[in-house]
């Protein structure tokens, strides 16, 4: 009896198809190998997230204070100078949506968490949240074990190099080839050598700083404002339910930056902060945005970021606030 031919079978492939498959394997093998090597090199990079993750794992039982926010918070809060055991999980472009994912995702691992330091910069409430496929979600997954994707995890989500190949390839070149990185992280992932910004380039000369051009996003958007404000309330409700005290903070800005803020955006943000403080007994404000007494040009990296000197001062002010917390 003749054997019926199977529908899917390797013998169905013709000679030319098999030759082509071989050709493809030959071509793509170096590409795949290169990807694997780069992924391993990325995992070996000294990067702030890695230190954050290590800190999170090794000190989870002691941590009492967690800082969340964008690069402004990353540069302003050095847990090394905090009076309580602290961690700063802030990072560049991190918005409240990511902050909330991190807070919820790490809450069970941090039984002693008492304080949440949350940044609300002048335009925080009028900047749109990142989409669910934001590249840093892979970073949070890898280092904090936090799923911020709002869906189940796929294999590619676990690959750092694929999440932002441009960022990581630049980091790889800086670290392994040019040795040009100036970053020096302490055990908390804070860059203690973070002085190399615009103000240093301008020799901290105020006349040059006053005429320096910089970028500021001062666009108004009422629909985003409403959405983000609701989201902030949701976060505060969660913190209240979890018995966490929230320190809503605004971070120091240089006077040229302060002048360029959109007054309507600032007014709306401030009114939300006042309302929140009245409504929640577990919320206090640390408003240092316009603090030009404690902070001068030598404390700034650029117009809206502090350098490690400024961070030391800001952390000291934070300590005062925490110690005075009722």
């Amino acid at each position: 009896m003749p054997v019926p031919r199977r529908i899917l079978f390797i013998s169905n492939f013709s000679g030319s198809q098999l030759r082509f498959l071989k050709y493809c394997l030959l071509f793509f093998t170096p590409v795949v190998v290169a990807f694997v090597i780069m992924e391993l090199l990325v995992l070996n990079l000294p990067i702030n997230y890695k230190y954050y993750g290590q800190q999170l794992n090794s000190h989870s039982q002691e941590i009492e204070l967690m800082g969340l926010g964008s690069s402004q918070m990353k540069c302003a809060f050095n847990p090394d100078f905090a009076d309580v055991d602290a961690i700063n999980l802030s990072s560049t472009s991190q918005h409240h949506k990511e902050d909330f994912h991190i807070l919820k995702g790490t809450r069970k691992r941090l039984p002693n968490l008492k304080f949440l330091l949350l940044e609300v910069s002048f335009n925080h409430l009028e900047l749109p949240h990142h989409p669910d496929d934001y590249w840093k979600n892979s970073v949070y997954l890898k280092y904090y074990d936090v799923n911020a994707f709002n869906r189940s995890i796929w294999f590619k989500d676990r690959l750092l190099i694929l999440s932002n190949n441009r960022f990581y390839s630049r980091k790889l070149l800086e670290h392994y080839f040019f040795n040009s990185s100036t970053e020096k992280f302490n055990s908390y992932g804070f860059d203690t050598n973070n002085f190399y910004g615009t103000f240093k380039e301008l020799d901290y000369d105020t006349s040059k700083i006053n005429t320096n051009n910089f970028r500021i996003i001062s666009r108004e958007d009422l629909s985003i404002f409403k959405k983000n404000t609701d989201f902030l309330y949701e976060m505060l409700e969660y913190a209240k339910a979890e018995n966490i005290n929230v320190i809503l903070c605004t971070l120091p800005l240089y006077k040229t930056y302060l002048k360029k803020r959109n007054p309507s955006v600032v007014r709306r943000r401030d009114s939300v902060l006042q309302m929140v403080q009245k409504q929640y007994s577990n919320v206090i404000l640390l408003n240092r945005e316009t603090d030009t007494i404690h902070f001068n040009e030598k404390d700034f990296l650029n117009e809206n970021h502090l350098n490690p000197n400024g961070a030391k001062k800001f952390t000291a002010l934070l300590n005062q606030k925490i110690n005075g917390f009722d």
């Binding site: 071509f27 441009r166 500021i216």
Partner: protein, 467 residues
């Protein structure tokens, strides 16, 4: 992994089993489409069935009135679906605004629905099938599987090229024999498409999004620069997608129509639309423009009206907003202007055969493309007005230098020089094996992979997916 798995299974089935191959393609296409939102699948199946049945009914009817009835029924369904999902809220909003019915007892309510991905593309494809059957240009197919495949063929389902049934449908009836040369061509075209999308479009998008998000804060030159970059963004994005779609189809043994032909070299607006989204222009020419002028080819007024309506609809096809309506009207106005004789010589027209030196063509194209880009990119007509006003007010742009990205400029230069130097070919890497030996070819491919890997911009959705 979706593509390699589908491809290996497809060829493992063997080219003699067309039905099994088509069934696999259908499953893969529906899976691909369902990954966005499985609910959209009901709509695509319903649209396919309506046109499948309508075409058979047209063929089966003897009376012309019945044929017409079936045709109009099908068109009504297609346009109704399009209107409901894409234009309903826009028209309700504008109607409410016009009659001041935004609030109060007689206020209209808008629908809270999302636009299914690629709706405009597959609706036009199915509509053209029924019209062609009605016009007896093609016979209707009785093979439902093949027809469903034709509507949902995944490489071109969500953003074209818009294929006519006469071109694509017969390919599902014939055996697709594995041709290693064609498959390699497909892979090369995908590589070129990825370069355009990930390196050119996504990097341009980074700057464009930044500037357009706070356009009030940027000076004239920055806004002009961002608007020109938007052309690179949308060209890289859409032509890149078309290349990926055409290349992917080649992997499965299908041929799709070319959708772009160096639009930045256009000498006129008419020429531009013969180079940009070619399959859409062809669709509107065949199914809107020609039917309007069919009996009055010589009437200039009728032709101008036809041009204006056609271009207005092309504008509206892109989205439910006044910016797109004005965009279409602007194109129509310029085409009419081009066709208007500037002397007694009837052959003379503004740009086609004018006395304007050819050196000025790029200047004209630049101005026309930039204004079109501003209309296309702006969120609303007010924003477009503000941007145009700020450009013409010559506001200083001290921040311009911060927008310059050397990487992007180098990559854009590579794109333009490679495309222009190989302009007679379908795409730059086509038949590269005829004149470059394998080691050097591989070096070129690896360089492109490296460029994509190293310089890909932040991931942006394909712009035309929203249409």
């Amino acid at each position: 992994m979706f593509l390699p798995i589908t491809l290996v299974l497809y060829w493992a089935i063997g080219y003699k089993r067309i039905k099994a191959q088509n069934a696999l393609l259908l499953v893969a296409s529906y899976l691909f489409y369902g990954l966005w939102d499985w609910r959209f699948l009901f709509l695509i199946v319903a649209s396919s069935l309506v046109d499948y049945i309508a075409a058979l009914a047209i063929k089966g009817s003897e009376e012309k009135i019945k044929k017409k009835l079936y045709l109009y029924g099908s068109i009504l369904w297609n346009l109704g679906v399009l209107f409901l999902f894409k234009y309903f809220n826009f028209f309700i909003d504008e109607f409410s605004l016009l009659f001041n019915l935004k609030d109060g007892e007689y206020a209209f309510t808008t629908l809270n629905i999302i636009l299914p991905v690629g709706l405009s593309f597959y609706t036009f494809q199915t509509m053209s099938y029924t019209i062609d059957v009605y016009k007896s240009r093609i016979p209707p197919t009785r093979n439902l599987l093949n027809f469903l495949c034709f509507v949902s063929f995944f490489p071109q389902l969500v953003a074209g090229p818009i294929e006519k049934a006469a071109d694509l449908l017969p390919q599902f009836n014939t055996r697709r024999k594995f041709n290693a040369q064609e498959v390699k061509e497909g892979l090369r075209q995908i590589l070129w498409g990825l370069f355009k999308k990930m390196v050119i479009a996504d990097n341009a998008a980074r700057i464009v999004n930044m500037v357009y998000a706070s356009h009030e804060e940027y000076g004239s030159f920055s806004l002009l620069y961002a608007s020109v970059l938007f052309f690179f963004q949308i060209y890289g994005d859409f032509s890149g997608y078309s290349d990926i779609a055409i290349g992917t189809a080649k992997l499965f043994g299908f041929r799709l129509n070319k959708n772009f032909n160096l639009p930045y070299l256009a000498k006129s607006v008419t020429d531009f639309w013969q180079r940009w989204h070619i399959t859409l222009t062809r669709w509107f020419t065949d199914y809107v423009y020609f039917p309007i002028i069919q009996k009055n080819l010589r009437s200039g007024t009728r032709r101008n009206i036809a041009v204006f309506i056609t271009m207005g609809l092309i504008g509206l096809w892109h989205g439910a907003d006044w910016t797109f309506v004005v965009f279409g009207a602007f194109q129509g106005f310029l085409i009419i202007l081009e066709r208007t004789p500037i002397s007694q010589n009837r052959k003379s027209s503004l740009y086609h055969r004018s006395r304007i030196p050819s050196l000025l063509f790029p200047v004209f194209s630049f101005i026309f493309i930039t204004i079109s880009c501003i209309l296309f990119r702006s969120q609303n007509i007010e924003e477009a007005g503000i941007i145009l006003k700020r450009i013409f007010l010559l506001i200083p742009s001290s921040e311009w230098s911060s927008l310059i990205s050397k990487t992007f400029l180098v990559c854009a230069a590579i794109l333009l020089s490679v495309e222009i130097s190989t302009r007679t070919k379908n795409f730059p890497l086509t038949r590269i094996d005829l004149y470059i030996s394998r080691p050097f070819r591989w070096v070129i491919y690896y360089i492109f992979i490296l460029l994509i890997f190293r310089y890909a911009g932040p991931t942006e959705d394909f712009i035309y997916f929203q249409f």
